[in-house]
């Protein structure tokens, strides 16, 4: 497939989060989060460990319920959806987990088929195989098709995890720390993969990371989460040219390390 540069449609929001609050007991994690994601856009969410980045996208995908505020995805308010409607919305959302979450009792092929055969029961064997091969090719791991997840490296697992979400052709991708714990070269590969996904599958994405190289390479916009709120949003340079001490220290920390 020929890659075209991606187009962002700022008139068409796909995710709108307003004034979101979430606590676990006395642990107040999100304290009034606002976020917009537009069609075709990649937004990078930066923030230190434990600031609630994973919690935010779990609320967006309906895995957790907020205490207050709204999360609107493709025109639907996630918390208000039940059974069937939520399932339908989820078909349009791809969620790549922080630890890949591959089904470890299944081979790579079975992992990839799993969501497909259960959501599109009319598919023929041949079509299923084609879909599996297509997404495996897209992530560049065709040779692993019969391996078990335990035989794969961390970076390969991440890519299979991404392939498994792509197989349903989602409109929105949520990546939870796609490059965490990987070597710099594999990181670049994953960054390129995310950009390719944006271009070829025409997805809009939220990419969660601590990794500024990844943020710079993939983000059309960067949002900085701190103490339960987004303290700054904008392009990478806009955010990091700020005088805010907290942002500077995040930047310095990343590059001194």
């Amino acid at each position: 497939m020929e890659n075209q540069p991606h187009v962002i449609d700022y008139n068409q929001p796909v995710i709108t989060v307003r004034d979101l609050y979430k606590s676990f007991g006395n642990n107040h994690v999100l304290k009034g989060v606002d976020l917009d994601l537009y069609k075709g856009e990649n937004v990078v969410v930066l923030g230190r460990s434990g600031t609630g980045k994973s919690v935010l996208i779990k609320i967006i995908s309906g895995l957790l319920k907020q205490d207050k505020g709204t999360a609107n995805v493709l025109g639907e308010e996630v918390a208000k959806l039940g059974g069937k409607q939520l399932q339908e919305l989820r078909l349009k959302i791809g969620f790549s987990f922080q630890n890949s979450a591959l089904y470890d009792s299944m081979t790579v092929r079975e992992n990839l088929e799993f969501p497909l055969v259960r959501n599109q029961r009319q598919l023929k064997r041949k079509e299923i195989n084609e879909s599996v091969e297509r997404v495996l090719n897209a992530v560049g791991l065709s040779q692993t098709i019969n391996q078990m997840p335990s035989e794969l490296s961390g970076g390969q697992r991440k890519r299979i995890g991404i392939a498994r979400t792509l197989i349903l052709r989602p409109e929105i991708m949520l990546y939870d720390e796609p490059t965490a714990g990987l070597d710099p070269i594999t990181c670049i590969e994953i960054n390129n993969l995310m950009n390719r996904v944006q271009e070829t599958f025409k997805t809009s994405s939220i990419i969660i990371t601590h990794d500024l190289t990844c943020a710079k390479a993939t983000g059309d916009r960067v949002a900085m989460l701190l103490e339960g709120k987004f303290i700054k949003q904008g392009t990478f340079d806009e955010v990091f040219n700020s005088d805010d001490e907290r942002i500077k220290s995040f930047y310095n920390y990343n590059f001194i390390k």
Partner: protein
């Protein structure tokens, strides 16, 4: 301060949590009945689980069943011999094995072997977010994981109970044969003299109830495992403890009910 406390807990923290847990467990069990008959059916997964359960507990159940029958007969022999009543041995042993030992031994072994396995497997899927991954890919994890496993245990434990009963009787026969040279046929004729249809029916019911218990408890504990690998071990352990406890309670109830039916 005291006002705040009364707002947070209806009674005390412990009591509140107990009832919340009870409520969530009840909801979990009811969800099974709500989903079991609804398509889509996970036929392949159910068969795979049946096979796993049978295969996993087969060696241990064969051994335990055989030894239970053999030892029970051997130990009962002297007391009967005092009254010169060793000819009652086959029917005595059959009553003990079919009415009590086979269902209980099978269930306790399966609780240890199968229940802990289900708890650990689903628990580790929970803590590694595999269950969440199913959910966000619009697949119902309850249906795929819980319904299939509970159906498999509910189906397989009664079958294993029959099998345990059979090997235990073979153990008993070995002892009787070496002592009295009773033939195979007459041993079983004597054995089943005192066994009624109700006895067999009640044992199978036990098997079904125990099987359901082992499956649903293991799934519940695994499904609600808390974060971390520690949670997986806890889920496995709690599955065994909880299902054994429930099995004993159910044993008493079923025996009471059977006896009242018998009148």
């Amino acid at each position: 301060m005291s006002l705040k406390q009364t707002r947070e807990f209806v009674i005390t923290k412990g009591v509140d949590e107990y009832f919340i847990n009870l409520y969530s467990a009840a909801k979990f069990v009811l969800r099974f009945f709500n989903e079991v008959l609804r398509p889509p059916y996970e036929g392949k997964e159910i068969i795979k689980q049946c096979y796993e359960i049978g295969y996993k507990s087969f060696p241990l159940i064969s051994l335990t069943g055989f030894i239970t029958g053999l030892v029970f007969t051997k130990q009962s022999r002297p007391s009967l011999a005092e009254f010169g009543a060793t000819s009652w041995l086959p029917s005595l042993v059959a009553i003990a094995i079919i009415k009590a030992l086979a269902p209980l031994v099978t269930a306790l072994i399966a609780a240890g072997k199968v229940g802990s396995n289900i708890g650990a497997e689903i628990g580790s899927m929970r803590v590694t977010e595999q269950i969440d991954a199913m959910e966000v890919s619009a697949v119902n994890p309850y249906k795929f994981l819980v319904v299939s496993r509970v159906l498999a245990t509910t189906f397989m434990i009664p079958i294993l109970t029959c099998y345990t009963g059979f090997v235990a009787m073979m153990g008993a026969y070995l002892n009787v044969q070496t002592n009295e040279m009773t033939s195979f046929v007459s041993f079983f004729e004597q054995a089943f003299e005192k066994i009624s249809f109700l006895d067999i029916f009640s044992s199978l019911t036990k098997g079904i109830v125990y099987g359901f218990t082992i499956g649903i408890v293991g799934c519940y504990k695994g499904y609600n495992a808390t974060q971390g690998t520690e949670g997986v071990g806890k889920a496995a352990n709690a599955s065994v403890v909880m299902s054994m406890f429930l099995i004993f309670v159910e044993e008493i109830l079923i025996v009471q009910i059977t006896n009242s039916i018998r009148g």
